[in-house]
């Protein structure tokens, strides 16, 4: 004879008890969490749902949020790391809804999978600030992000006017195929160099945002294009990888390298510029400080906030690297 185990019995019982009315997600009970009352002198719990702590850019974003929040009386921030897993991030946001946080800051791993749960938080009365990557629809309070096309355009103009005014051959090391920033940084760059027809992109290869991939790709590209003048990389780590490849081939001095991101950390692009490996990099702001500014307006000052905040980039060269590093809060 075989007995059913208890969990099985429980499961069967639970199923038998459950009537067959399936409620669609839209009909979730409204008013489950009342909107937090705003005003000074209160404690406010902010949930920060981060897509992936393992990316330096996102770690800096967390630090920016936490540092800015420390300066506001009554703000407490809890960071949840989704480790690049959409499902985990949905569960993280659900936890914040269950805890009835006073405000949610989310940097989504991807737009479509997070849209529903962000809308659920918003509908339950929690103000939602979306950082860096958007969600679909309009169920959020504010979006803060930088304009990757504009950044690419500025890099392109720098190439056209300053770096290669006489023209030249450019190797492009691109971000992950299919990712929006990679597409936008590529398109913007082409717009930027359009004013100087003598500049030619002789090859484009993906380094998938990674230093080691950038290095491997540059190894091959440098062999295939011995006459290249510059390497335009979609981010700093790949630019550093390309520099290492050129250095190993004894050609680091013949080429110039530029990146994007300019993170204020010892392994970031600003230090690489300061130490001469990269010619220039462009700040891709995290929006962490701006998010807490908006949170303060919503929770403490009780004022309206702009729907969309577009963050400006800044060029980093040897002239201003040390200054930008400090200004962005980097610890030496």
């Amino acid at each position: 004879m075989h007995r059913l185990s208890r969990p099985a019995l429980l499961a069967v019982t639970a199923l038998a008890l459950a009537a067959c009315s399936v409620e669609q997600p839209e009909s979730a009970p409204p008013g489950d969490a009342a909107a937090a009352e705003c005003g000074p002198g209160r404690d406010h719990l902010i949930g920060m749902s981060q897509a992936n702590n393992a990316e330096p850019y996102r770690e800096v974003m967390n630090t920016d949020v936490e540092t800015a929040a420390e300066a506001v009386d009554g703000f407490e921030v809890n960071v949840a790391d989704a480790a690049q897993d959409n499902s985990k991030q949905v569960a993280d946001v659900e936890n914040f809804i269950t805890q009835q946080v006073d405000l949610l800051i989310i940097s989504p791993n991807e737009a479509a999978p997070l849209t529903a749960v962000v809308a659920k938080a918003f509908d339950s009365g929690i103000p939602v600030i979306v950082l860096d990557r958007k969600v679909e629809g309009d169920k959020y309070t504010a979006f803060i992000g930088a304009d990757n096309t504009e950044i690419g355009r500025q890099v392109g103009q720098y190439y056209a006017q300053t770096l290669l005014p006489q023209g030249g051959k450019v190797l492009e090391i691109a971000g992950l195929p299919g990712s929006t920033p990679a597409a936008e940084r590529a398109a913007g760059f082409r717009e930027g160099i359009a004013s100087n027809p003598a500049i030619e992109i002789v090859a484009t290869q993906t380094g998938e945002w990674l230093r080691d991939k950038g290095q491997a790709v540059a190894d091959a590209l440098l062999k295939a294009h011995p006459d290249a003048n510059a390497v335009y990389s979609h981010n700093d780590p790949m630019a550093e990888g390309a520099y290492l490849a050129a250095d190993a081939a004894g050609r680091a001095g013949d080429l110039t390298f530029t990146g994007i991101d300019a993170l204020p950390i010892p392994s970031g692009g600003i230090k690489a510029v300061e130490q001469g490996r990269l010619k220039a990099t462009y700040v891709y702001p995290t929006g962490g400080r701006e998010a807490i500014d908006l949170a303060k307006k919503i929770l403490v000052d009780c004022t309206d906030v702009p729907r969309t905040t577009t963050l400006e980039t800044e060029q980093v060269t040897a002239d201003n690297a040390a200054q930008v590093y400090t200004q962005l809060g980097g610890q030496s």
Binding site: A14, C20, P25, V79, A80, T98
Partner: protein, 353 residues
């Protein structure tokens, strides 16, 4: 029976669950055995109690015990749980399936593309995706059982193949699922996967619990399950005893692929997207659930109820750590320690009893 001997040198001729004894311990040794036998269930109870004690409160109520939170817990663990059911069969025959995370991504992509781009209905989509998952599993079963390549290698390769297929099929980007009757829209009935029964029990959780209950019964009552345990205990002896080893091994890999496809369909429904890069690392979470559930990676020893308990334990652990806002890195540490502790208890069980 081989698995009985392996489970602890018992003298009985019990079924797959090991020597059958009275639930009431009569002496110290059988008390120990009872404790070990229900190790993962006790673990689940312990973690549950700890979660209740550690739960933050709101208006005097424990957040952890709120129905919406408990629903979240089971929903969040349903995909890993369903995969772990299939993984249990594979591990019981002494195999392993590393491809499940990638097959989940492939299934989610297939679900989204067939419904959104090809305009298929829910039923044909589900059937075809389940067939894809089952066929993928069956091929890995053939490579393992017929050709004789180690399951680790076969499914490691399968992981790469499935991930590659998912990326090719989707063009490397997630396929969003929008609902409606128009072109490029999925049938609204598919959205049932995001619903919940009576607003409390999420549909994916129901699917997980039903499949779990069926698997518990299958693994306790069928000839198939006896073959599974026999192969895991001693494959040569099983073959000599007339167990259709090749067929059973192909079957368990097929089951694993099929159940992974179920999880992939749920995944697509939950996230309104089929993303080729989803499911990375899910194989390790599923294996962790199986191991915490007391199943030996050497094969032949283990229970399905243990796996279900293991999956729920992991889900509760993640939930309560999150509710208490424990740092993400500390969460990794704690989860790792729990897995080691569970495996350590298994080792102890074999030494003590």
């Amino acid at each position: 029976m081989t698995e009985t001997a392996k489970a602890g040198g018992g003298t009985g001729t019990g079924g797959p669950e090991g020597p059958r004894r009275s639930l009431l311990p009569t002496d110290r040794r059988s008390l120990t055995q009872t404790l070990f036998r229900f190790q993962s269930l006790f673990g689940l109870v312990v973690v549950f109690v700890v979660a209740v004690l550690a739960s933050p409160q709101r208006n005097g109520e424990l957040i952890f015990l709120s129905l919406s939170n408990l629903g979240n817990v089971v929903r969040a663990v349903s995909e890993i749980g369903i995969i772990a059911i299939g993984m249990t069969f594979v591990i019981l025959v002494g195999g392993i399936d590393l491809s499940v995370g990638a097959v989940l991504g492939l299934s989610a992509v297939g679900t989204a593309i067939l419904m959104v781009d090809s305009g298929w209905g829910v039923l044909p989509t589900v059937v075809v995706v389940l067939l894809i998952g089952a066929a993928f599993g069956a091929l890995q079963g053939v490579a393992t059982a017929v050709i004789g390549i180690q399951a680790f290698i076969v499914t490691l390769a399968g992981l790469q193949v499935a991930r590659g297929l998912a990326r090719i099929w989707s063009g490397g980007v997630g396929v969003p699922i929008a609902y409606g009757d128009g072109p490029q829209q999925a049938p609204p009935s598919f959205e049932i996967l995001r619903g919940s029964i009576n607003g409390v029990l999420p549909v994916p959780a129901v699917i997980f619990l039903v499949l779990g209950a069926v698997a518990v019964i299958v693994l306790r009552t069928t000839a198939f399950s006896r073959h599974v345990y026999a192969i895991g205990g001693n494959e040569k002896a099983a073959r000599l005893a007339g167990v259709p080893v090749t067929r059973v091994k192909i079957a368990v890999f097929t089951i694993a692929g099929l159940l992974t496809a179920v999880a992939g369909i749920i995944h697509a429904g939950q996230l309104s997207q089929g993303s080729p890069n989803d499911g990375i690392g899910y194989e390790l979470n599923a294996i962790a659930a199986v191991v915490i559930g007391g199943t030996s990676l050497a094969g032949g020893v283990g229970t399905m109820s243990g796996t279900l308990a293991g999956a729920l334990l992991l889900g509760i652990l993640t939930n309560i750590l999150g509710l208490n806002n424990i740092d993400a890195n500390i969460q990794l540490l704690i989860t790792g320690l729990v897995i080691v502790a569970a495996a350590g208890l298994q080792k102890l069980r074999r030494t003590v009893t």
